[in-house]
C-alpha cells in the first residue's frame, strides 16, 4: 500500500504560502521544498503547484518576477505580497482550529456506562 497521502483540497495553497514565507522561490524550488519537508509523504503533481501559484498570483496573494538561479538560469521567482502574508496567517489559524477539532472528535472513545 502506498504510504503517501493525497493532498486535501486547498491545502496546497496554504503550504505554498508557508514555503514562500521563508523568502522568494521559483517553482522548482518550492516543489523540492515541499518534498523534503513532507519527507516525500505528500503527493502532488508539479502542474498542480503551478496552477496554485498562478491562481494566487491572480488573487494578488503572491507576485512573480524574473530572476537568476545559483546556476545562472533565468527563473520566475515568487514572493508573498502583504495580502498573501495576511491570508497565510488567517488560513493557518483556521487550519489549526479545524485540525484540532477534527482530531479531538476522532480521539473520542466509546465509554461503557
Amino acid at each position: 500500500m502506498d504510504s503517501r497521502l493525497p493532498l486535501l483540497k486547498g491545502t496546497l495553497d496554504l503550504l505554498v504560502l508557508k514555503a514562500l514565507s521563508f523568502g522568494p522561490a521559483h517553482g522548482y524550488g518550492l516543489a523540492t521544498w515541499l518534498e523534503e519537508n513532507s519527507a516525500g509523504g505528500l503527493t502532488a503533481e508539479d502542474s498542480a503547484l503551478y496552477q496554485a501559484l498562478h491562481r494566487m498570483e491572480g488573487r494578488g496573494l503572491v507576485e512573480a518576477e524574473w530572476g537568476v538561479t545559483e546556476n545562472s538560469r533565468r527563473a520566475r521567482y515568487y514572493s508573498l505580497t502583504t495580502r498573501g502574508c495576511q491570508h497565510l496567517e488567517a488560513e493557518m489559524q483556521t487550519w489549526e482550529r479545524y485540525a484540532a477539532l477534527v482530531s479531538s472528535i476522532l480521539s473520542l472513545r466509546p465509554t461503557t456506562a
Partner: protein
C-alpha cells in the same frame, strides 16, 4: 533556444510574450528537475521521463495556465486603464472648477444641442425606427389600389376587389379590411362619441393584438346575427372598471345592441387611438361595387414570402378582375403591396429625417463652437502641457487627457440635455406626437437615453479632437516658450467659425423656405369662412329614420329651432363638410356618359352656402320651392363647371351621379338640372386643391340624410357661447344623442398643424444655430484682438485712426463670415431639394428667401464681431503696450 526566443520577444505581441514566458517557466522547471536527477546518478533519458511523470500532463497544464495568465493580463490592463482614466477625469474636473466660465458655457451649449437632438431622435425613433407593436411586424403589408399609371396608387380599396384578392391569394396567411370613423355609442343611458373601427375578413389574425380578456373578432362575427364588439383596454377600463368586467356587457352602436366579447391591449392594436372594433359583413360584388373605394386593406405574408412575390401574385388576380369585369376596372390595374411600416409613415418620413438632419447640423455647430473656444484657450494651456510633455508624458497621453476633459464636459452637457429633453421636451414632443402617425409609440426611454449617451461621447470627441491635437502639437514644438507659439495672421479657429456660419445659414434657409411656403399657403382663399362656425356630427340611428322621411323632418325642425337661438346667424346641414370625410363618385353627362373626372357629392340644406359664406357665382342656390315633388336640381362648383361644360353656360345643363344615386333609383341615376354655380372650396384646408363638387338638396334625397353634420354660424357677439348653445339645442331635440361640437376654424388650423409645427421646429433650430454662430464669431474676434493687442496698439500709437483699426479687425471676421456664407448658400442650394415635398407654391431655390436668410445672418454675425472690435479700436495704446 531560450536566446532565440528572447531575441524575438519584443517583436512578438503581448500574447505571444505571455505564452513564451509561461513556456520558459515550465521548461526551466523540467530542466532543473532533470539536472538534479542526473546529479543523483540517473540516466538522462530516464531522468527526463521521471521529471515529466512528476509534472503531470504537461500540455494540458500549459493550456490551462496560459488561459489563466491571459485572463489576468486582461484584467490588469483594464484596471490600469481605468486608473489612469480616473486620474484624467479628476484632472478634468479640477480644470473645470479652475475655469468655470469655459465649463459653464460649454456645458450649456452642448446641453442645449444635445437636448434638441434627443427630442428629435425620440420622434424619429418612435415613428420611423421602432418596430411596429405587432408580432413579426415585418410580415405585415398594406394592400393598395393601383390605377392606370404605375405610380397612381391609392391607399383605399373596394370590398369587392379585396374579396377577390383574398380568394385568389396563396402568399398571404391572413388578410383583412377596415374602415375607421367617429361613431355614437350608447352605454346604459349615456351616449358617447368614440373612434370606432369596422373590420372585415381576418383583420385580427393579421395584427394579432394582445388580448386582455375574451376573444378577438373573427370573419364569422361579421356574418352572424348577434353583433359583437371588441374594446380597447383603456375604453373598457373607463366605462366598466376592468377588461374582465366589460365582457358580456352590451353597447348600443348605430342604434343596435353589441355584446362585448373581447378587450385588447390598445398599444398592440391597429389602428392606434381606436376605442372599439366591430365586424362587418363581407360580401362579393361586381360592377359599380368595385369602384366603392372606402376601405383600408392589410395582409400578413406567409412565412418566407417576400413583398414582391405577393405583389406579382395579386397583380395577376387584379388583371383577372379587369378582364372579367370591365365595369369595375377603375383603380384595379394591380395591387400595391407595401410594407406596413412604410405605408403608415411614408407621409412624414421625409419631414422627420429633414428635421433630424437639421438638428444634427445644430449639434455640429455646437461642437464647432466648443472646439473654437478650446482653440482660443490653447495658448493658455500650452505652457502647462509642455511641462507635462517635458516630464515624460507621451503625446498620446496628453491628447487623451485633453479629450477626457472634453468628454467630461460633454458628459455633464449630455446629462443636462437628457434632463431638458425629459422635462421640457414635451413642448415639442406632445403636439408633434398628436400629429404624427404612430405618435402613440413616441416616448423617451432607455433606448433613447442610450442614443443620447452615444451622441454625447461623439460630441465630446468631435469638439475635443481639434484643440487636443493643436495644443499637444504646439506645446511639443515650442517646448514651453510661449512667445514662439505660432499665431500667424490667419485667425485660429476661423475654419470652424466658417463651418458654423455655413451650417447655420443652411438651416435658416430651410426654415425660411418653410415659412415662406406657410405664409403663401395660409394666405390662400379657402372658398369659405370657417371663423365663427360650429359643427356637430349627428347620426340618426333609429329604425324610424330608415326611409329618410322622418330624418328630413328632424333636420328641418332642428334647423328652424336653431335659427330661433339668439346667437345663431344661420344654420344648415350637410352630409360632408370641409375638413371632414368626403365621398367622391363618378358623374355622367348627356354628351359624355363616362367623363375622366368625378365629383364629390354633397347633400346640403338651403342655408349651407350662406352659413359657410360660399359665394354663388351664377344662377341661384337651393330655395324652399325645391322639394321632393319638384324637378331634381343641383349646384356645381366652378371646377366642375369648367370641366363638364368648358366655355359654355352650365345653368340648365344636366348631370347625373351614378355612384351616389343609382342605388336610390333601382340602378338608374336620374338627370339633375344645374341651377347654379358656386365657388370652389378647399375641402382639406389650405394645403388641398380645389376639386369638382356636386351639390344636391337634402329634401330631394331623403335616404342620404341619416347622418349629417350640423353647421351653425354664430353672431359675432355670441361666438364664445355658440358651441354650448348648439350642443344644448341638439341634445334637447333628442336626449339620446351623443353631441360632439367642434369649431370649424380649429379644424382648419389642425389640418395645417403639421406644417406649422415643422416650420416652427426648423426655425427654432435655425435661430439656435444662429445664436451659437454669433457666440463663435464673438469668441473668434475677441481672441484675435487679444492676440494682436500689441500690433493694434502700435498702429494706434503711430496714428492709425480708430475707424481704420476697426476695419482691420472687422475685415478678418468679415472674410470668415463671407466664406461661410458662400459655403452655406451652396450647401442650402444642394439640400433644399429635400424640402420639395413640403413646399407649396415656393420653389426650393427661392432667391428671395436665400438672400433674406444670408442678409440676416451676415448682419447678426457682423454685429457679434463688432462688439469686441469696437472695444479694441478704442483702447489706449500706451496702456496696452505697458500691459504687454
Amino acid at each position: 533556444m531560450l536566446d532565440y526566443r528572447r531575441i524575438f520577444r519584443l517583436r512578438l505581441g503581448r500574447r505571444a510574450e505571455l505564452r513564451a514566458e509561461l513556456d520558459e517557466e515550465l521548461t526551466t522547471h523540467i530542466e532543473l528537475r532533470v539536472d538534479e536527477l542526473v546529479a543523483r546518478g540517473m540516466g538522462r533519458e530516464e531522468a527526463m521521463r521521471e521529471a515529466r511523470k512528476r509534472f503531470g500532463d504537461f500540455d494540458e497544464a500549459k493550456r490551462e495556465l496560459y488561459s489563466s495568465v491571459r485572463r489576468r493580463e486582461v484584467r490588469l490592463r483594464w484596471g490600469r486603464m481605468l486608473d489612469s482614466v480616473g486620474r484624467d477625469v479628476r484632472l478634468a474636473f479640477r480644470r473645470m472648477v479652475k475655469s468655470p466660465g469655459f465649463a459653464v458655457v460649454s456645458i450649456s451649449i452642448l446641453g442645449l444641442a444635445i437636448s434638441l437632438t434627443t427630442v428629435m431622435f425620440t420622434l424619429v425613433d418612435g415613428v420611423l425606427l421602432r418596430p411596429l407593436p405587432f408580432p413579426e411586424p415585418e410580415r405585415l403589408v398594406s394592400l393598395e389600389s393601383v390605377g392606370e399609371g404605375s405610380d397612381d396608387s391609392y391607399a383605399y380599396v373596394s370590398m369587392a376587389n379585396w374579396h377577390d384578392w383574398r380568394a385568389g391569394t396563396t402568399t398571404l396567411a391572413a388578410t383583412g379590411i377596415s374602415e375607421q370613423g367617429r361613431i355614437s355609442v350608447g352605454i346604459g343611458g349615456d351616449a358617447f362619441r368614440v373612434t370606432g373601427t369596422s373590420v372585415g375578413g381576418d383583420f385580427f389574425q393579421v395584427f394579432q393584438p394582445t388580448l386582455m380578456a375574451g376573444r378577438p373578432l373573427t370573419m364569422e362575427d361579421g356574418q352572424a346575427i348577434n353583433q359583437v364588439t371588441v374594446l380597447a383596454s383603456s375604453f373598457a377600463t373607463r366605462h366598466f372598471g376592468s377588461p374582465d368586467d366589460a365582457l358580456g356587457r352590451t353597447l348600443t352602436i348605430s342604434g343596435r345592441p353589441y355584446e362585448v366579447v373581447g378587450v385588447v391591449d390598445e398599444h398592440t392594436a391597429h389602428p392606434e387611438r381606436s376605442d372599439l372594433w366591430v365586424a362587418f359583413h363581407v360580401a362579393a360584388g361586381n360592377g359599380a361595387a368595385r369602384n366603392n373605394i372606402n376601405f383600408q386593406a392589410f395582409g400578413r405574408l406567409k412565412e418566407g414570402v417576400d413583398v414582391d412575390r405577393a405583389r406579382s401574385e395579386l397583380d395577376a388576380v387584379a388583371s383577372g378582375i379587369r378582364a372579367t369585369d370591365p365595369e369595375g376596372a377603375f383603380h384595379s390595374h394591380g395591387v400595391g403591396v407595401v410594407p406596413l411600416q412604410q405605408a403608415l409613415v411614408s407621409d412624414v418620413a421625409d419631414t422627420l429625417w429633414l428635421l433630424m438632419l437639421a438638428v444634427v447640423a445644430v449639434l455640429f455647430v455646437a461642437c464647432a463652437n466648443l472646439a473654437g473656444l478650446g482653440l482660443a484657450g490653447a495658448r493658455r494651456r500650452t505652457g502647462e502641457v509642455s511641462l507635462r510633455l517635458a516630464l515624460g508624458c507621451g503625446r498620446r497621453q496628453v491628447i487623451r487627457q485633453l479629450l477626457v476633459e472634453y468628454l467630461a464636459i460633454a458628459a455633464i452637457g449630455g446629462a443636462l440635455g437628457l434632463t431638458l429633453a425629459w422635462t421640457v421636451g414635451d413642448l415639442i414632443l406632445g403636439p408633434m406626437a398628436l400629429e404624427l402617425p404612430r405618435g402613440t409609440a413616441v416616448r423617451l426611454d432607455l433606448r433613447v437615453a442610450l442614443f443620447t449617451a452615444g451622441l454625447t461621447i461623439g460630441a465630446g470627441l468631435l469638439a475635443g479632437i481639434a484643440p487636443a491635437v493643436r495644443i499637444s502639437r504646439s506645446a511639443d514644438l515650442t517646448g514651453g516658450s510661449r512667445r514662439h507659439l505660432r499665431v500667424g495672421r490667419s485667425l485660429p479657429g476661423g475654419t470652424l467659425v466658417a463651418i458654423e456660419v455655413a451650417l447655420a445659414l443652411a438651416i435658416l434657409i430651410g426654415g425660411g423656405l418653410l415659412l415662406r411656403s406657410l405664409q403663401v399657403v395660409a394666405a390662400r382663399d379657402l372658398g369659405y369662412d370657417p371663423a365663427g362656425v360650429v359643427v356637430v356630427e349627428v347620426d340618426l340611428n333609429g329604425e324610424e329614420y330608415r326611409s329618410g322621411t322622418l330624418a328630413v323632418e328632424y333636420w328641418r325642425t332642428l334647423l328652424d329651432n336653431l335659427e330661433q337661438h339668439p346667437g345663431v346667424q344661420s344654420a344648415a346641414v350637410a352630409n360632408w363638410i370641409p375638413t371632414g370625410d368626403l365621398g367622391t363618385g363618378f358623374v355622367a353627362l348627356p354628351h359624355d356618359p363616362e367623363p375622366d373626372f368625378g365629383a364629390s357629392y354633397r347633400v346640403v340644406s338651403e342655408g349651407f352656402f350662406e352659413t359657410l359664406e360660399i359665394a354663388v357665382l351664377r344662377g341661384r342656390a337651393f330655395d324652399p320651392s325645391d322639394g321632393p315633388g319638384t324637378e331634381r336640381v343641383a349646384l356645381v362648383n366652378r371646377a366642375l363647371a369648367d370641366r363638364a361644360w368648358p366655355g359654355s353656360n352650365p345653368i340648365g345643363q344636366r348631370i347625373a351621379s351614378p355612384s351616389m344615386e343609382a342605388w336610390l333609383y333601382d340602378g338608374q341615376a336620374p338627370w339633375l338640372s344645374v341651377i347654379g354655380v358656386v365657388d370652389d372650396i378647399r375641402h382639406d384646408g389650405y394645403e388641398s386643391d380645389n376639386e369638382p363638387e356636386l351639390y344636391v338638396l337634402y329634401r330631394q334625397v331623403p335616404r342620404w340624410t341619416r347622418g349629417m353634420n350640423v353647421v351653425v354660424r354664430g353672431l359675432e357677439s355670441e361666438r364664445a357661447t355658440l358651441s354650448t348653445q348648439v350642443g344644448e339645442a341638439i341634445r334637447a331635440s333628442n336626449p339620446a344623442l351623443a353631441v360632439e361640437t367642434s369649431r370649424l376654424d380649429d379644424r382648419v388650423a389642425n389640418l395645417l398643424q403639421e406644417r406649422v409645427l415643422t416650420q416652427r421646429i426648423l426655425a427654432g433650430f435655425g435661430v439656435t444655430a444662429l445664436l451659437l454662430m454669433c457666440l463663435g464669431v464673438y469668441g473668434l474676434v475677441a481672441h484675435a484682438v487679444s492676440q494682436r493687442t500689441r500690433e493694434i496698439a502700435v498702429r494706434a500709437a503711430l496714428g492709425a485712426r480708430s475707424t481704420g483699426l476697426l476695419g482691420l479687425i472687422l475685415g478678418g471676421a468679415g472674410r470668415v463670415i463671407g466664406v461661410g456664407t458662400a459655403i452655406g448658400l451652396a450647401v442650402a442650394y444642394g439640400l433644399t431639394g429635400l424640402l420639395d415635398s413640403l413646399l407649396i407654391d415656393v420653389p426650393a431655390t427661392d432667391p428671395a428667401t436665400f438672400l433674406a436668410a444670408a442678409a440676416l445672418l451676415v448682419t447678426v454675425g457682423m454685429l457679434a464681431a463688432l462688439i469686441p472690435s469696437v472695444r479694441a479700436a478704442r483702447m489706449d495704446p500706451s496702456e496696452a503696450l505697458r500691459g504687454e
